[in-house]
């Protein structure tokens, strides 16, 4: 190829040979990312479906379990994730305008917020562990159904609430851990100056992933933390 006259023509080094131009390459990547997110929607959808059915069947235990979660930490974590979505958007914006330093700062902030979220989640899980709320042989739930403090709570039904709580927040946290890994990679290459206004597809697509994980939490927060909170 080096001898052909075509090679003299300037083209972006990030352009893969099987695409006609950068725009086509960007659109193909973006479509691929959205298809991946569609499979992710179905993946989480299965758990949301299980949640809805069991919540319909065992509402009193779901309400009792939900009331035992720390609403302050849950709200703070929702805010932390929303802030991280903003920093992701601003990092992509900085890449679109070719501002390398701003890109690096916003990506670093995203990482800090992502780790803060995981830290808070760790605190919550630790206290659940100490309270014996982890499903298994030593599971014991002494919480009461809201409005019926004297009624005993069915331990098996309560265990289903906590199984779903750990499965859903656990899968969400795993996605966050992967996100932190991906954004560390992005931070390194943004610092190296790889992402320019012409080519920042990795940043854009990872941003889509991050926002998707944020949306999952936007639904998990009211569904898990806010069942029957009224006095």
């Amino acid at each position: 190829m080096a001898d052909s006259p075509m090679a003299v023509e300037q083209h972006n080094p990030a352009l893969q040979h099987h695409f006609a131009d950068m725009e086509q390459q960007r659109q193909a990547s973006s479509l691929g990312m959205w298809l991946f997110l569609a499979t992710e929607i179905m993946f989480f959808g299965g758990m949301f479906c299980a949640y809805l059915i069991y919540r319909y069947w065992y509402y009193p235990e779901f309400a009792a379990g939900s009331n035992s979660l720390d609403i302050t930490l849950g709200t703070v974590n929702t805010a932390v994730l929303i802030c991280s979505s903003l920093t992701v958007v601003l990092a992509v914006h900085a890449a679109q305008l070719g501002k390398r330093q701003a890109q690096v700062i916003y990506l670093a902030l995203t990482l800090v917020l992502g780790l803060a979220f995981l830290g808070v989640k760790g605190i919550e899980w630790t206290s659940k562990f100490k309270e014996h709320h982890i499903p298994g042989p030593s599971f014991h739930f002494e919480g009461a159904v809201p409005g019926h403090p004297d009624e005993p709570v069915d331990q098996r039904h309560a265990q289903i609430f906590f199984s779903l709580y750990f499965a859903m927040t656990g899968m969400h946290a795993l996605h966050m851990v992967i996100g932190v890994g991906v954004f560390s990679y992005l931070l390194y290459y943004a610092w190296k100056g790889r992402y320019t206004p012409d080519y920042h597809t990795p940043l854009e697509n990872s941003g889509l992933y991050w926002h998707f994980v944020d949306i999952i939490w936007i639904y998990l927060f009211p569904l898990l933390y806010l069942i029957d909170r009224k006095k």
Binding site: S30, C49, H93, Y219
Partner: protein
């Protein structure tokens, strides 16, 4: 590049709206609205998810129709999964 650039002002406005709505969701949970507690919480969550998808994820500005087709069909199949499953389980006479 036909890629759309969303202004910082719009992004910050969306971010503030999302934060306020998070506070509203948590606050409303303590007010007794009967069965509407869950409905209000889910309506707010869906509005937040829409804001994130349309503005932060640039779906509103996407020039490619295929992206919109993928998003809408993913939601369609999700609703099919949830809707038909619940139509079964909530109407069983045990």
């Amino acid at each position: 590049m036909s890629e759309y650039i969303v202004s910082v002002k719009t992004n910050v406005a969306v971010w503030l709206t999302l934060l306020v709505l998070t506070g509203v969701t948590a606050g409303i949970a303590f007010i007794d609205l009967g069965p509407f507690n869950t409905i209000v919480a889910l309506v707010i969550a869906t509005f937040k998810a829409l804001l994130v998808t349309l503005i932060f994820m640039h779906v509103k500005y996407a020039s490619e129709r295929l992206v919109k087709v993928v998003v809408i069909s993913a939601l369609f199949f999700l609703l099919l999964l949830l809707g038909l499953s619940l139509a079964d389980y909530t109407t069983r006479l045990l």
